[in-house]
């Protein structure tokens, strides 16, 4: 169900409001999801997404064809959020260490590992663990695995170099693996691999 974004983008630049709405419908959910990941001020995300699209429409005649509308939108959203966010829990906070106590304690792991047949709990634990990683690590992971950006694209969205993206991801994995040692060897979610 991939949309021909380039085509719609071009139509929008030419003033086609229907194409513009189509682009909105296609990207809105994911842009919100991205915004919510990096910024806990959901109102700000709402405002920024409105601004982003209004700006897009108002400046449509000056807009060039862009190589990837998707990339453009994510990057623009991120820049908007940066500009408007002040002291929020946000991407730009230092890439700090893990807070103490954020992983489920040993006993819980043990119990769930033994009792859990269907892996659901493990998935929840993983997500809970991810949630407590520094925001930049969470951002990189969501951009990579949920939003399907390559490491290069993520680097350009986050304004860092590609190696730093890999480092963020490696650090995240190290922390996850250190804390959830059973994880990679368990059947986690059912993959369509068979």
């Amino acid at each position: 169900m991939r949309l021909d974004e380039q085509e719609y983008w071009k139509e929008m630049c030419g003033g086609n409001a229907a194409a513009f709405e189509k682009l909105y419908s296609y990207f809105a959910n994911d842009l919100f999801r991205y915004g919510y990941r990096v910024c806990t001020n959901y109102e700000l995300v709402q405002d920024s997404i409105q601004d982003l699209f209004l700006h897009l429409w108002n400046k449509r005649s000056q807009l060039r064809e862009v190589a990837s509308p998707r990339f453009y939108l994510y990057r623009s959203l991120r820049n908007k959020l940066i500009r408007s966010s002040e002291s929020d829990r946000f991407v730009f906070s230092a890439d700090g260490d893990l807070a103490d106590n954020w992983f489920p304690n040993e006993k819980d792991i043990e119990t769930s590992w033994i009792m859990d047949e269907n892996n659901r709990i493990q998935l929840e634990m993983l997500h809970e663990a991810l949630q407590k990683l520094p925001i930049r690590q969470q951002e990189a992971i969501q951009l990579r695995y949920y939003h399907d950006f390559s490491a290069d694209e993520i680097a350009r969205i986050m304004n860092i170099n590609t190696q730093s993206v890999r480092n963020l991801q490696n650090r995240a994995m190290q922390q996850l693996r250190a804390e959830l040692p059973f994880f990679p060897v368990s059947m986690l979610v059912v993959a369509l691999l068979t």
């Binding site: 709405e21 809105a28 959910n29 999801r33 269907n118 969501q142 949920y146 986690l188 993959a191 691999l193």
Partner: protein, 358 residues
């Protein structure tokens, strides 16, 4: 060339796999070509096979890591954006209709054009109502945000901007609403007094349920159901048989009424909603399960029936979690795995293919 590239996977660790674009791409969007390629890697480096499985599982788990955004937020932004661009530069009517029809998957608009036009005769009931019977209330929403109207009998109408309703609740045997524009109805159950919505030639009759309607002058009328059951029928066919000639809609189904041809069609909504709780949804994970069970699961989750030839598909078994993705994405995925395709006809899914070999 592929052979050479393949060589690098011999020494890949789990960490390498989960960072390999080609591998991620395949895990998330498996296709026949990828299957062939990665099977070849497995054959060439059997020791990597379990690493690849683990990596794939991990990628699936990571891909499921995202925040949930209430649909209301997305619609709120949509409204703010499109209200503003309209103010700035009013779009011609035809264009407006285009994007209204695009928005139709999410919004339902109910319209009674006849109120505002001379040809009131097409809706005798509406005419009667307009003639100022007692106890009739009219509400117009000229604001920028949806307005919630609480009716005395407990139902609510969420009226979109630039929309209006009139309603009478006094009658002994029915509750009646006439509407132009767009509204969501949340109707309290009262089998004694059915709730009728009249819109541009279409009557929607309910006992108690939640549904949305979209009807604009000169456009089709659309009715989408979120819960309960709804009966829709044309108000323009013979009075006697009108209701029996209508359609019943269940959750995630919608009806489209083309006034010109008096044609009423049943479909599945563009974005079927999950009808069970998030907790329940998580239990719909299947390992090596017959396809019939998976289709039953889909029906539990979305209330939409999948019709297929049980004999043809009896050997198809799947591994699958039904907790992510939309109904249509899941169907597409199942279609890919068992090499089949689907059609949506009359509010149901028809699944067609050659089946699987044992």
């Amino acid at each position: 060339m592929d052979q050479e590239q393949m060589h690098r996977y011999a020494g890949f660790t789990l960490r390498d796999f989960i960072q390999d674009d080609r591998f991620i791409q395949w895990v998330k969007y498996p296709d026949a070509q990828g299957m062939q390629y990665w099977d070849a890697v497995r054959k060439a480096y059997p020791h990597q096979s379990s690493v690849m499985d683990h990596a794939a599982n991990l990628i699936h788990a990571l891909a499921a890591f995202h925040t949930d955004v209430p649909e209301a937020e997305i619609e709120k932004a949509r409204q703010a954006i499109f209200d503003n661009i309209e103010e700035e530069k009013p779009a011609p009517v035809s264009r407006r209709l285009i994007y209204f029809s695009i928005a139709a998957s999410v919004l339902i608009l109910l319209g009674i054009a006849v109120w505002f036009r001379p040809q009131v005769t097409v809706m005798p009931i509406a005419k009667k109502a307009i003639n100022g019977s007692q106890g009739q209330t009219e509400r117009v929403n000229n604001g920028l945000q949806a307005e919630v109207i609480a009716l005395s009998e407990g139902s609510t109408i969420t009226l979109a901007p630039h929309s209006r309703v009139k309603y009478t609740l006094e009658s002994d045997d029915r509750r009646e609403v006439y509407l132009q524009g767009e509204a969501v109805f949340n109707v309290t159950k009262n089998a004694e007094k059915p709730f009728y919505v009249y819109a541009n030639g279409l009557v929607t009759k309910v006992l108690g349920t939640q549904f949305k309607i979209l009807a604009y002058p000169d456009d089709d009328v659309k009715v989408e159901v979120s819960s309960g059951r709804v009966r829709v029928y044309s108000s323009e066919t013979g009075r006697e048989h009108a209701e029996t000639e209508g359609l019943t809609l269940t959750p995630n189904q919608k009806a489209v009424y083309t006034k010109k041809d008096q044609l009423l069609t049943r479909m599945v909504v563009a974005q079927p909603k999950v009808l069970i709780t998030a907790e329940q949804l998580k239990t719909y994970t299947y390992t090596d399960t017959p396809i019939s069970k998976i289709f039953e699961g889909l029906e539990d989750i979305y209330g939409i029936k999948v019709i297929y030839d049980k004999e043809t598909f009896k050997n198809c078994r799947l591994n699958m979690s039904l907790s992510d993705e939309s109904l249509f994405e899941k169907l597409e995925l199942i279609g890919k795995v068992v090499d089949a395709r689907y059609n949506v006809i009359d509010g149901q899914v028809i699944f067609i293919g050659q089946g699987c070999t044992e």
